[in-house]
């Protein structure tokens, strides 16, 4: 029995089941956008919610049905010119909890998300005044950790890495085309619209990056990046996800930044079984009818048993239970999907 948490523009939904039978519970958090799910180091579930009217909130639950809002979500200091617009990501490193937010920032919690501390080395980075938003805002949306090394993705700023547990940070974007620099110009330190990050936990220096400007790989912890798009119908997209048991990489390509739907409406996940050297359509089950919809960076998740699921901006869920060999669409239709979490 699996559970799939679905975060949408209008509340969250919880699917419980397997094979052809899935029960749907919800909406949870009616009236709120649900933008991120996570777990604390002790296994408590987290949901990040937001509202165009009432700001953000963090909720905790031990059973996914009963949730309690915390009193102190990540917040900029009172009087700050920055606004807390959205929680984009939670990440547990086994001891500390991390949260990436918009307006772009990184926060940590040592008490399971009840209280949060800003990470000043990143939030007040010497380049901060030059940070510019992407179409989705100025947001810290991806967090990876391996020992004292921490990587974050900030749009439209780039990848940053800390080698000392988050105290100091360096931009890591060599090899990526900038989004705001003319061809032939000296590559800037920042100004890169990173969309997604994935990592090999057995060799954390191996990273994959879905960027605004294409799909890339690093074998040196992000110091250098190389383009890897052989077999993809387009380099653009938001998702990069790695199944650690098999090393299979998955993405959902979209036409381009100006046309954020699948090429010719052919909604497909693409897989790579050779570390990104080549890509092919992942398995079977894809629709013949055109699907002019997108898949956002937080809307793809999977587990080690081989259950992968993604949600679309059109509110549909696609599921595989065999590591991506056969896919099917699940009912019902939901509002625009921003976050997916597979739970055992």
């Amino acid at each position: 029995m699996k559970r799939i948490a679905v975060g949408t523009e209008k509340g969250a939904y919880l699917l419980t089941g397997s094979d052809s039978s899935w029960a749907v519970e919800g909406p949870l958090f009616p009236g709120w956008k649900v933008t991120a799910f996570g777990e604390t180091p002790d296994g408590t579930h987290l949901a990040g919610v937001g509202s165009n009217w009432f700001g953000i909130g963090v909720h905790r639950s031990n059973n996914l049905s009963d949730w309690a809002q915390t009193d102190s979500p990540p917040a900029w200091p009172e009087g700050s010119e920055r606004t807390m617009e959205q929680i984009w990501a939670f990440h547990s490193d086994g001891e500390r909890l991390w949260a990436g937010v918009a307006e772009a920032g990184l926060f940590t919690s040592g008490d399971g998300g009840l209280t949060w501390d800003p990470v000043p080395g990143l939030n007040e980075h010497r380049t901060r005044d030059e940070w510019s938003p992407g179409f989705g805002g100025l947001c810290t949306h991806r967090i990876l950790t391996a020992g004292d090394r921490v990587w974050v993705g900030i749009s439209a700023v780039g990848c940053f890495r800390s080698d000392d547990g988050g105290i100091t940070w360096e931009a890591k974007n060599v090899g990526i085309p900038s989004v705001d620099t003319p061809e032939g110009a000296e590559p800037p330190e920042i100004g890169y619209c990173i969309h997604g990050l994935a990592q090999d936990p057995t060799d954390p220096a191996r990273l994959w990056r879905q960027d605004h400007r294409g799909m890339f790989r690093s074998t040196d912890g992000g110091d250098h990046w190389e383009r890897i798009e052989d077999g993809l119908p387009a380099g653009f997209g938001f998702v990069i996800w790695r199944h650690h048991d098999t090393g299979r990489l998955l993405t959902v390509p979209l036409h381009s930044d100006a046309n954020r739907v699948p090429v010719d409406g052919r909604l497909r996940a693409y897989a790579s079984d050779d570390e990104g050297d080549s890509w092919k359509i992942a398995g079977t089950g894809w629709p013949d009818a055109a699907q002019f919809t997108g898949v956002l960076r937080g809307a793809f998740d999977g587990d080690e048993s081989g259950v992968f699921c993604f949600g679309t901006t059109g509110g549909k869920l696609w599921l595989t239970e065999d590591t991506g060999e056969s896919w099917r669409e699940l009912e019902p239709a939901f509002p625009r999907i921003a976050a997916i979490r597979i739970l055992g």
Partner: protein, 87 residues
């Protein structure tokens, strides 16, 4: 001054409180500060980082649009509404 504060349902469900709170204060600002003492999770939903009322939150004292400096009389009715906007 003791006043009654009514909250929109979306917030009472979020913080797990009732729809009506009895709070003291001489101005709307003091009323809110005392409300936040009882329900800390409400503060970030009603005020922004600068301490101002969020742009899409409307507050009324005795059915008249109010700001943080609005004086409160004993028994006043404070109603907080979500502006109608969005899709």
């Amino acid at each position: 001054m003791t006043v009654s504060v009514r909250l929109p349902r979306v917030l009472t469900e979020t913080v797990g409180s009732g729809p009506r709170h009895e709070v003291t204060g001489r101005t709307l600002s003091e009323v809110l500060e005392n409300l936040f003492t009882a329900e800390p999770g409400l503060k970030g939903h009603l005020l922004d980082e600068t301490g101002r009322i969020r742009p899409h939150v409307l507050m009324f004292v005795d059915a008249t649009r109010a700001d943080l400096e609005t004086p409160i009389r004993d028994g006043s009715d404070v109603q907080i509404l979500q502006a109608v906007s969005g899709g």
